[in-house]
């Protein structure tokens, strides 16, 4: 069964336009002008049950809008969506029993109280009977290893601990799908790994479909089988993560700072020039094809190199690359 099915989903906002100045402020009170903003245009995709999907894109690409439509908070301008066979915006309450969400930047836990109090509240919201709640809570507390601090006020927890508690809160009612929005934001490297491991465990043991939005490439690499990239409200990439890695994550960006300036023509075997000024060179190489060492040797021998940096391209760079590859006119 498909967990999520989206067909031609479109969302256009009408934003009030208010030109500056006092006179215009008065005018806009009586005759407001609107501008249409196309947040999401003609989306089509399906998600299978039990899949872990990364839903990524630059800020303003329409990610949040799409998630809001899938959870029923927003209704679309046109198109259809079915989440677990429900129409999200028409059958929101029914759907709510089967989905859970965690927002990295907004907490659902009562700040001054121990997490267990929020869990109890959620058991009432989701209408779990006491026995089911107890069993489920014990199970999740074990699974996510939060037993040590469920009686500590949330404000005293570290971010990593809090995120695990948030996960428990969203899983109490055994939802079939969970939406995770920036779950690892603000976590240190180790805490990120730990949290990702827990999310994987959940997916394995419960078969929950996991829908993640993240700016963190590590999240995508570790957790997700599949990735959808959104840009300007449209899907520009929809495929396996392994594909993405094969194609894009084996690039390296080499940035060279020169001691003496050069502005003659650039020749270097096995690399592509990205940027260039008199004192700087930025090239990219594909480690599948070319050898980093070979390229570095060339650069070192050809130029008077002051400093050299070798990095993986950031996700934004990859996305921009993908965007260019698609040859879109918008």
């Amino acid at each position: 069964m498909d967990a999520i099915e989206v067909k031609n989903l479109t969302k256009t906002f009408q934003v009030k336009v208010k030109p500056p100045g006092l006179k215009n402020s008065f005018k806009s009170l009586f005759k407001p002008k609107y501008r249409r903003v196309e947040a999401v245009a003609d989306l089509n995709f399906t998600v299978k049950a039990g899949e872990t999907l990364a839903f990524i894109g630059p800020n303003g690409s329409g990610k949040s809008t799409t998630i809001k439509m899938l959870t029923g908070i927003l209704f679309p301008t046109s198109g259809e969506a079915r989440v677990l066979e429900f129409n999200p915006w028409k059958e929101r309450k029914k759907l709510a029993f089967h989905i859970g969400s965690v927002f990295g930047q907004k907490s659902q836990l009562w700040y001054h109280l121990p997490a267990v109090e929020t869990f109890y509240l959620f058991s009432r919201i989701y209408e779990l009977d006491s026995r089911t709640f107890r069993q489920r809570l014990d199970y999740l507390v074990n699974l996510l290893e939060i037993g040590d601090f469920i009686h500590t006020p949330v404000r005293k927890l570290s971010l990593g601990q809090r995120m695990r508690a948030e996960l428990v809160a969203c899983l109490l009612h055994a939802p079939s799908i969970i939406f995770l929005d920036e779950p690892t934001i603000g976590l240190d490297v180790v805490a990120k790994q730990i949290l990702r491991e827990y999310i994987r465990t959940i997916n394995r043991t419960e078969g929950t479909t996991i829908f993640i939005t993240s700016h963190d490439a590590g999240d995508i690499e570790t957790l997700c089988e599949r990735v959808i990239i959104l840009n300007l409200g449209r899907i520009i990439y929809d495929s396996e993560v392994s594909q993405l890695k094969k194609t894009y994550l084996h690039q390296r960006v080499i940035e060279v700072t020169l001691n003496t300036p050069r502005n003659d023509s650039f020749t270097c075997r096995g690399c592509t020039l990205l940027e260039r000024t008199d004192y700087k060179l930025k090239v990219t190489i594909d480690t599948h094809r070319d050898s980093t060492r070979d390229v570095v040797n060339q650069l070192m021998s050809q130029y008077d190199v002051e400093d050299i940096t070798i990095t993986e391209p950031p996700l934004e760079e990859i996305i921009r690359q993908i965007y260019k590859d698609q040859g879109n006119a918008f």
Partner: protein, 301 residues
């Protein structure tokens, strides 16, 4: 914020009225024999002006927020007119004079910055206050300037609105030139006293966790005991000491009474009274403030 800060006269920065004026003031100030004093004044004047300008950005919102002034004034005058009934005068205050008395008191009540106490408490408890303490100005003076900006703007708007309302009730002007002029010093001092009281309560947040619970209570007490709802002249004699020995009447009653019944000797008496309260309360505030700052190092919010 489209306005330059005073400390920068960046080349190429847009020439706003503020920067032009401040440039002029600065060059004059350095030539004056008391550069430190003038610089201080300029500093605080600038803070005051920026606060004033800030409100013009949300003018519509700001004007709307004064609409309850209309309601409150209307309700209180109407109540009193009913209360007077057939009588033309009570305890020496004529009907028309009462309407103007209520006007002044009303305007004061709605012009004062009631959120001040809450703001100070929030600054204290969030630890935000440390941001202000390491700037080259005094926190209290800074707060006073910001607060005054709001007060003056409120004053202008409330006065305008309430004046319009007054005409609805009476066509006569129950005051005199001296009555109007005395408003300037008495209002200034009255607001200052109110400001000091609010500060003391706000700073109490260092020791009492939730001083804000008492904000509304305090404000209501101030209003009633200050002659804001019922003129002190009409109080039974047994209660009058309550007005005389508390600072609240210096905020509301003094300006309003002088407005309708100006007498030179009364003016002097009231002015001295206000100055005494400013001195008394001001010193208390200073002591409390110093103590609080010392405690800040231990507590840290």
């Amino acid at each position: 914020m489209p306005f330059n800060s005073l400390s920068e006269n960046r080349p190429g920065a847009p020439e706003t009225g503020l920067s032009l004026r401040s440039k002029g003031r600065i060059s004059r100030a350095s030539a004056s024999p008391f550069p430190a004093l003038s610089k201080g004044f300029i500093k605080y004047w600038a803070i005051f002006s920026i606060e004033l300008k800030n409100h013009f950005v949300y003018l519509a919102d700001f004007i709307l927020s004064n609409l309850s002034v209309i309601v409150a004034y209307f309700v209180s005058v109407q109540l009193w007119l009913i209360g007077y009934g057939a009588r033309q005068e009570v305890a020496g205050i004529h009907k028309e004079e009462l309407i103007w008395y209520l006007l002044i008191v009303q305007v004061i009540h709605f012009s004062v910055d009631y959120t001040l106490m809450l703001n100070i408490e929030e600054d204290v408890q969030s630890g935000n206050i440390t941001n202000y303490l390491n700037k080259p100005y005094n926190y209290l003076l800074y707060t006073y300037c910001i607060s005054s900006g709001r007060v003056v703007l409120n004053l202008i708007i409330n006065l305008t609105i309430s004046l319009g309302m007054t005409l609805f009730f009476t066509k006569s002007f129950a005051s005199s030139l001296s009555g109007v002029l005395q408003l300037i010093p008495t209002l200034f001092l009255g607001f200052l006293i109110h400001f000091i009281l609010q500060c003391i309560c706000g700073i109490a947040a260092f020791w009492v966790e939730r001083a804000t619970v008492f904000v509304w209570v305090l404000n209501t007490i101030m209003l009633v005991l200050g002659g804001g709802l019922i003129p002190v002249d009409t109080w039974p004699d047994s209660l009058k000491p309550l007005a005389n020995y508390t600072p609240f009447s210096a905020i509301f009653y003094y300006p309003a009474k002088l407005f309708i019944h100006f007498k030179p000797d009364l003016f002097v008496r009231f002015l001295i009274g206000q100055l005494l309260w400013v001195f008394l309360l001001g010193s208390s505030l200073w002591l409390v403030y110093r103590k609080a700052i010392r405690r800040l190092d231990i507590n840290g919010g």
